[in-house]
Symmetry: C2
Subunit: 322 residues, 2 copies
């Protein structure tokens, strides 16, 4: 659609999704999936995480995956990096970007990273100084930016302060993560408006989880505030390992489906995306949260009547005959 606003979609399923899976996805299967995704039109793909293989065995093949994929010029290939050692491993594979993580909430940072926030910041500052000697871009993902499952509300000023500290170190982008799906639309709108106003030169990305069903509603609020970059996970993979029933990251195909219907230009091939998403259950050994994969796109019409639930008594009788 010419003239429509460009929205940048970042796929995180092979990192944020696979790291939560009990079943190891074979290296060849990861590479094949990423190669399919590279052809789908994403702006960015988060390939893997350069962390200790003992800590996240699901991603123990980070180097092999990075070396094995066929890279497309238009896709930024990013990886999660926790420390200097991870950064060196990532740089040796020629990544386009490193993605660093810490939490805005002290409790969550201690729980998740086993250090306090100042320790995390110092560690990430060291990583940034190493990576800045290269041409590799640097993004920082701020977890629990819209609520902490242990502390509750997070003050907007606190989020902006941490953004400022990283902006001052010269990072290229910051991702605001609704790590456990606590964000709600008016909060998202206010935070995004404040962030885009104050950090006009940073690439701002929003990272939503659908834990409480609000991921697409929050996306609308972020769009209204001028955000044009979104993380999303194929099939809706990801999420908290302690809430197995709750769905994970916002589902990429549902996000793209809504955005394209609303006239945005994601450059993502939704049909190709749905074909790729359909492969996930065989890779991970279970069904995925994606509803679009089950229902199809809104104009995938039915020849045989899909009988309404708003109907009259005859519907059941008819349905039984259909």
């Amino acid at each position: 659609m010419s003239g429509s606003k460009r929205i940048y979609i970042h796929e995180v399923a092979t990192r944020d999704g696979f790291q939560n899976e009990a079943q190891f996805v074979d290296t060849d299967a990861k590479i094949a999936l990423i190669d399919r995704l590279s052809a789908c039109g994403y702006a960015k793909i988060e390939i893997t995480s350069f962390t200790s293989p003992k800590a996240i065995p699901a991603l123990r093949d980070a180097e092999a995956v990075m070396h094995g994929i066929a890279r497309h010029d238009r896709v930024v290939y990013t990886v999660l990096v926790p420390n200097i050692k991870g950064a060196e491993r990532a740089l040796s594979c020629g990544v386009d970007e490193v993605n660093l993580v810490m939490s805005v909430s002290e409790s969550h940072n201690r729980t998740n990273l086993r250090m306090n926030r100042e320790q995390s910041f110092a560690q990430l500052r060291d990583v940034i100084s190493v990576v800045k000697q290269t041409n590799v871009a640097i993004n920082v993902s701020l977890s629990t930016a819209m609520g902490c499952p242990m502390e509750g509300d997070i003050a907007q000023a606190e989020v902006l302060d941490w953004m400022q500290r990283f902006a001052d170190l010269g990072v290229h982008g910051v991702t605001l993560c609704d790590t456990t799906g606590m964000a709600f639309p008016s909060q998202v709108g206010a935070l995004c408006a404040a962030a885009t106003k104050r950090f006009s030169t940073l690439d701002l990305t929003l990272h939503f989880h659908n834990t409480r069903g609000m991921a697409l509603a929050n996306t609308l609020a972020a769009l209204d505030a001028g955000i044009d970059r979104f993380d999303a996970s194929l099939g809706g993979l990801g999420g908290c390992p302690y809430a197995p029933g709750a769905t994970g990251n916002v589902c990429t195909e549902e996000l793209v489906h809504m955005l394209e219907l609303d006239g945005y230009d994601t450059r993502v091939d939704l049909k190709a995306l749905l074909s790729a998403s359909a492969l996930l259950p065989s890779l991970i050994g279970h069904d995925v949260p994606s509803q679009l994969l089950k229902s199809g796109q809104r104009l995938d019409l039915h020849a045989i009547p899909c009988v309404s639930s708003d109907g009259l008594p005859e519907q059941r009788a008819f349905a039984e005959k259909a």
Copy 2:
């Protein structure tokens, strides 16, 4: 929250939800559930459907349920009525409102109601003329108002024309139904803006399904266009019997959760709602789509860390220790 905008929530689980369930919910259990819901603060509850017991055996106890419930002054008790016979049965039970249904799309109307739209309109006109001799309110639910699963897009003018025909007959309200979850936010915004502008004296309700994950996003768009009445289904029950994987109506507890966080006044007691929703699986014999029931409200904090999926390698190691 004083001064915040009032939003009217209409519960449809015991009609739109239960009619799709294979397992019969005992009459006493229906009455007990509705009595619980009556105390939750709803503006309206759609109790049942006065249709042929052969066609919808799940609701064959319509009279017994209507006579059995304890009615609250502040709740409007409505029922679905397909024809004169249904209307007479409903009126004999002292309902507050009858809800009539037809589809905006010809194909869907024929499929669902086994007659063409003009036949449906004539039949509903007869019902309206009978009910208008009483003090009972009349609402018309227009199915497939945002898309037909067989015909595809529905022109906005077509929807407005059908609204006009019923407005001319003196109905009190019209519900625009996204029967199979085909609506998207910009479409909803445009339709609602046009409808509220043209029918300022009608009570307008929006009825969303979450088939493609957009129900809450569509709700935001409707709110922005001035809509203040929404149908919703406890636990997210309902939906098309031909797409068992797809979720059903927008989930009441998720709708109320979002609206209250955004500062709207629903008057609904969310805790009581979640307690009621938790009873559903035992009544219908299977899990419900509600994610909020699994995750809890956003400020239901965790003493034991709910480890982020945005985290570093240590999260798994820590998680295993936690």
